[in-house]
């Protein structure tokens, strides 16, 4: 089988602006009023991704493990801060440290399994494997954490009476929040599980499409995609359960009392 590699040039990229032009045309025609925002978005996409390309090229040239570990740690810290920023409205004590610790643990486990046992990368810090995979794990962990904590806060607000009923009967905190915990993890995992059900039936995943367009054998691209799908579900499950295990305790005092004032503030 002949592999075809469609190398996209900067001129081709500029030609793709035709899609933006179509959108702007339609927006103007229907007087939706988003032209300026769309133009800013178009410009930012170009600048941000081009900059990212140069940065990645620089990173891919590095060949020392300390650099890679430093880079991944920095990515985790930035993602944890983003998670904290999205969730700070709930005033959950220690939330930044909870996210940071959970992300480090999850990335260590998932990345370790992939680099050591699946791709058998040598050396283990080879940037072409480590950087994109870490990026995917961290991005997935961030999305899932935000979803699950948002849902958990909403659940315990909604179930305040139920939780106190459990506590008053002599339930440990874990049993009192079990229903909230379960619903939150389910809500965060279901989109991932639905993806497992639907992948390949309705649309080709973006990563696989990108690989095929770059000339990779579709069967190899598919194998990567399968691994990534399994990695996503594992990352989401691990990080959700870990984060919630640390988060739910923040809503109770040492006397096993629900911090109702924290619920009011959230």
């Amino acid at each position: 089988m002949t592999q075809t590699f469609y190398a996209i040039t900067w001129t081709d990229v500029f030609v793709s602006l035709i899609f933006v032009a179509i959108s702007i045309g339609l927006i103007r025609w229907w007087r939706i009023g988003l032209e300026k925002t769309l133009l800013v978005g178009t410009f930012r996409t170009f600048i941000q991704l081009t900059a990212m390309g140069y940065i990645l090229t620089y990173f891919f040239q590095q060949r020392h493990w300390t650099f890679m570990v430093g880079l991944i740690s920095l990515m985790i810290i930035i993602a944890s801060y983003e998670g904290y920023r999205r969730l700070k409205i709930y005033h959950i004590p220690n939330i930044f440290w909870i996210i940071l610790g959970s992300f480090f643990f999850t990335v260590f486990i998932v990345l370790g399994i992939i680099l050591k046992f699946i791709l058998s990368v040598e050396p283990w810090y080879y940037p072409y494997a480590m950087i994109p995979i870490s990026g995917m794990i961290i991005g997935n962990a961030l999305t899932s954490t935000t979803l699950t904590v948002n849902r958990f806060v909403s659940e315990i607000n909604h179930r305040e009476n139920e939780i106190e009923m459990y506590l008053s009967l002599g339930a440990p905190i874990k049993a009192a929040v079990h229903n909230s915990f379960m619903e939150s993890v389910r809500a965060a995992l279901l989109p991932n599980i639905n993806s497992l059900m639907m992948v390949g039936l309705v649309q080709l995943p973006g990563i696989m499409t990108g690989q095929i367009l770059s000339g990779i054998d579709p069967l190899i691209a598919v194998r990567y995609q399968i691994m990534i799908m399994y990695m996503w579900i594992s990352t989401a499950t691990m990080v959700d359960i870990l984060v919630l295990n640390l988060v739910y305790r923040q809503f109770f005092t040492s006397q096993m009392q629900l911090k109702r004032e924290l619920l009011r503030r959230s």
């Binding site: 009476n161 139920e162 106190e164 009923m165 459990y166 506590l167 008053s168 009967l169 002599g170 339930a171 440990p172 874990k174 049993a175 079990h178 229903n179 005092t253 006397q255 096993m256 009392q257 629900l258 004032e261």
Partner: protein
């Protein structure tokens, strides 16, 4: 021989930021008391009751249970000994049986109930065996309150705290539930602390009455003070409620 002290509160205060919910509360609740807390909404009655189940802790002051500081107890064991029935009964998704046996979810060794034990308890609260398989959430407010009572009693508490258990019920049903509570109090030899606003209904049951107004004890005595309050604030509150 006088009854032993079950709860002793000394100079208990509870503040939420600048809001003084309870101020300088000192009282004794003795074993086998049927102790009724009365007072207007927001007077701190429910907060006081919650403190006895350790759902809230005082900002300052001490609470003793059987002459031992409440903080020295294992909280789970304390809560099992001091049952709490809330104003609005909370039923979880599932049958009445699943609701009655909730405690099995975390403590299998102490809480395995046979169907005959559950039916006996249902009968104690005025229901029957047919209820076991019913969907708990579809029951009426009065039936749910009876299930909530049964669920607490299955823990075999020595103290029963009830936070306006009849607030959402019509007067006839309220009377029936209070009669039921009084019968259970005698049957199980319980100490009962009840928050209520049904002055006239409650006086036939109560042994001790305490009026809380603006977070302070306004008046304490036997049921006779409902008809003849000595305190001006209590009198004003009773007059307002009677209108």
């Amino acid at each position: 021989m006088p009854n032993s002290t079950v709860f002793k509160l000394t100079d208990v205060n509870y503040f939420v930021e600048d809001l003084k919910i309870l101020q300088n509360i000192s009282l004794n609740i003795n074993s086998n008391d049927f102790f009724v807390l009365l007072g207007p909404s927001g007077s701190g009655k429910s907060t006081l009751l919650r403190m006895l189940n350790c759902l809230n802790s005082p900002t300052s002051g001490e609470i003793f249970f059987h002459n031992k500081h409440i903080k020295e107890f294992d909280i789970i064991q304390l809560r099992k000994r001091v049952g709490f029935v809330f104003q609005s009964p909370t039923m979880v998704k599932g049958t009445v049986k699943e609701n009655l046996t909730l405690t099995q979810n975390w403590s299998k060794e102490d809480n395995v109930f046979s169907d005959s034990e559950l039916i006996e308890m249902l009968e104690q609260v005025g229901l029957n065996s047919k209820f076991l398989a019913k969907d708990a959430k579809s029951l009426s407010g009065g039936e749910q309150q009876r299930i909530a009572l049964a669920r607490v009693l299955l823990n075999k508490p020595e103290v029963l705290l009830l936070d306006e258990p009849t607030a959402n019920l019509d007067p006839q049903l309220a009377q029936k539930i209070l009669e039921l509570v009084f019968n259970l109090y005698k049957e199980f030899n319980l100490t009962v602390v009840l928050v209520s606003h049904h002055h006239q209904i409650i006086k036939q049951f109560s042994k001790k009455v305490m009026y809380l107004i603006d977070g302070k004890i306004a008046e304490t005595g036997n049921a006779a003070i409902i008809d003849a309050p000595r305190n001006v604030a209590t009198k004003a509150f009773i007059d307002k409620e009677s209108k």
